[in-house]
């Protein structure tokens, strides 16, 4: 394929490719800190969802015991708050990493849909992978623009959880950090509403997780580039020819922009 064609076509793999065997290139997409972030995030979030849901809808357990013998609901809340700290610190770390240590796929720019190119790519992904009205695949070495956008949303919702969560937590804490969120409650008009937002937003994570995990497996299944293992081992495997095409087209694009 010659440079100058449509961007997506340049970077996509044609179904009609008749190459029987194609060399793959191994690319180190997610560095250790990113992977650690991801799994700490997954674990703390799971814990927050489970414990949070229980806070919202306590089951009738151990009803025959005396209050003085038993503290399970308190422990549940303790786990929620503990996980909340981990979750928060982990996010702060990830944001930090996105600016100072990240490679080009982990970089903060990948998450903010700021350029027209990203919007275009996202629309392309919708057509290719969501609606499947185009029978093709798209090469993104890191995450694609649509995924990046969904992570951005999850980042924002995480902020909402942290702000509402710590605002609710502040009156039970003497420590300085939660006190930073004291203004949230008067701003939103009262604990009740803050709690409502906090509880309702949980479902955004649940829905996200379901879709996110599905799409990860979808990509792995359809593209066979090691998508799933990239967040574990860090590597992805990309066909050499396609990678070269992509690189060329990107050069081309930057040249065009320069003119």
């Amino acid at each position: 394929m010659k440079p100058g064609k449509e961007f997506t076509e340049m970077t996509s793999r044609s179904v009609s490719s008749n190459m029987l065997y194609r060399p793959m290139r191994r690319i180190y997409v997610f560095q250790v800190p990113t992977r650690i972030f991801h799994w700490i995030n997954v674990v703390s979030l799971m814990s927050l969802i489970v414990t949070g849901y229980i806070i919202g809808n306590p089951p009738a357990l151990l009803q025959e015991s005396e209050a003085s013998q038993n503290y399970w609901f308190g422990i549940n809340r303790f786990i929620h708050f503990g996980s909340a700290w981990i979750f928060t610190v982990n996010w702060i770390f990830r944001v930090f990493w996105a600016f100072i240590g990240a490679n080009k796929w982990e970089n903060w720019r990948n998450f903010l849909p700021l350029s027209k190119k990203q919007w275009k790519e996202a629309w392309e992904i919708i057509k290719l992978d969501v609606l499947m009205i185009k029978n093709d695949t798209h090469l993104s070495i890191g995450h694609n623009a649509l995924a990046g956008f969904s992570y951005f949303i999850i980042f924002i919702v995480s902020l909402v959880m942290v702000f509402t969560g710590f605002a609710l937590y502040a009156p039970m804490s003497e420590s300085w950090f939660p006190q930073l969120f004291n203004w949230v409650i008067p701003l939103l008009g009262g604990d009740m509403f803050v709690r409502f937002i906090h509880h309702a937003s949980m479902w955004i994570f649940i829905v996200f997780t379901i879709i996110h995990v599905h799409l990860v497996m979808y990509h792995d299944y359809v593209e066979g580039r090691g998508e799933l293992s990239s967040i574990i081992g860090g590597w992805k495997f990309i066909e050499e020819d396609i990678l070269e095409n992509k690189n060329k087209s990107e050069e081309q694009n930057t040249e065009n922009e320069d003119k």
């Binding site: 919202g56 509403f193 879709i211």
Partner: protein, 377 residues
């Protein structure tokens, strides 16, 4: 007044003297005055060591004038105030403040009542404490009028000369029941109208009598506005959630909840969280100060807290759910039901997507498989 037995009344409202001035004028000596002070001190139960202070107070201080305005309200705040047990309200009225206007208790009606109001507003301009019970309807001046004047005008005029304002109850501090959806009169709490005066919010529907008295006593005894939290409420009474001071808290932490009214758990005094107790989101002194001279408080009597001191509490979802309902989704539409629905929809979408993938991307997948097989050869 013509046939009044006591001449003293004639100039009562034109000239106000301190007790000492008053006695001097009547020919009593300083010694008589000090004797009077010690009797006074004994009368109100103070030890002789504070006679000097009493004398000082009587020499220099008049009882601070107070105007108590009623707007859109139900008078439960006044009712609660008269229930206070320490100090009892008779002592507040006779010894501590000069309640120059309050529609609930004052003797005079009509013009005479308004005269009391205006006399204090003029003579004690900048000195009086304004206490407000009730909200202001901004949708139409006709929704609350006294003496043919709109509540908004009355409030503005009274606030102008006030030293400080106390917003009694949820009506004055957050609009209370009349500001609940759809707020037909546009009932508005006073801090949204008066911006240039210190306002002490004492929310609650009503606030606890002793809390109300406590705020007044704080103002008088320490001669300062009590420290307020970031919502303008005195920290002394509103810095803790009901939940943090609730005596049923151990049950909450142990996960022991009342499951339905009057069940065995209810009879054992378990936590009322699952029946909608709003204690975890409500700042008030109920669980500590309790109500009616420490007799009980809502939770102690088996009903959850309804959050009556919180902003907007009437619209914070149904009473018997501890979490608000999603607006616009009909009854019983809480966040979890909608969330489960959304998650279900996502799962269904995924199933459809998986099937579609295997159809639409068949060739692609086959070519991958083919390529893989070739690689093995």
């Amino acid at each position: 007044m013509e046939n009044h037995p006591f001449g003293i009344l004639e100039d009562l409202n034109t000239k106000k003297l301190t007790v000492y001035e008053e006695m001097k004028e009547r020919g009593y000596s300083r010694r008589d005055f000090m004797k009077f002070c010690s009797t006074m001190a004994a009368f109100i139960g103070l030890s002789s060591s504070v006679v000097g202070q009493v004398a000082n107070a009587l020499e220099t201080k008049r009882r601070p004038p107070v105007l108590w305005m009623h707007f859109q309200e139900c008078t439960c705040c006044s009712e609660s105030f008269i229930r206070t047990s320490h100090p009892i309200v008779a002592d507040i009225l006779l010894d501590k403040i000069s309640l120059d206007y309050t529609e609930t208790l004052q003797a005079a009606s009509g013009h005479q009542a308004e005269k009391s109001l205006h006399d204090t507003m003029e003579e004690s301009y900048g000195e009086y404490i304004l206490m407000v019970e009730g909200s202001i309807p901004l949708a139409n001046p006709g929704y609350c009028m006294i003496g043919g004047i709109s509540s908004l005008e009355i409030l503005k005029e009274a606030a102008a000369g006030a030293k400080a304002i106390i917003a009694w109850g949820s009506c004055a501090s957050n609009g209370c029941v009349q500001s609940a959806r759809p707020n037909p009169t546009k009932a508005t709490p006073i801090h949204k109208i008066i911006k240039n005066k210190p306002i002490i919010k004492v929310p609650g529907c009503p606030p606890i009598g002793e809390v109300m008295a406590g705020v007044v006593v704080h103002l008088l005894a320490f001669d300062e506005i009590p420290e307020l939290d970031n919502q303008g409420r005195p920290k002394a009474f509103y810095s803790r959630r009901v939940h943090d001071t609730c005596y049923r808290r151990p049950n909450y932490d142990a996960g022991l909840f009342v499951e339905s009214w009057d069940d065995t758990n209810a009879k054992k005094g378990y936590c009322l969280y699952k029946l909608g107790c709003k204690g975890p989101v409500t700042y008030n002194a109920c669980a500590v100060t309790k109500w009616n001279g420490g007799t009980s408080f809502p939770i102690q009597s088996g009903h959850g807290c309804i959050g009556c001191s919180e902003n907007n509490f009437w619209d914070n979802g149904p009473l018997y759910k501890h979490l608000a309902e999603f607006p616009g989704f009909g009854i019983e539409s809480n966040a979890d039901k909608i969330g489960v629905f959304a998650a279900g929809a996502a799962a269904a979408g995924i199933a459809a997507h998986t099937i579609a993938t295997n159809i639409r991307k068949r060739k692609l997948i086959d070519s991958n498989i083919e390529e893989g097989r070739k690689g093995m050869e």
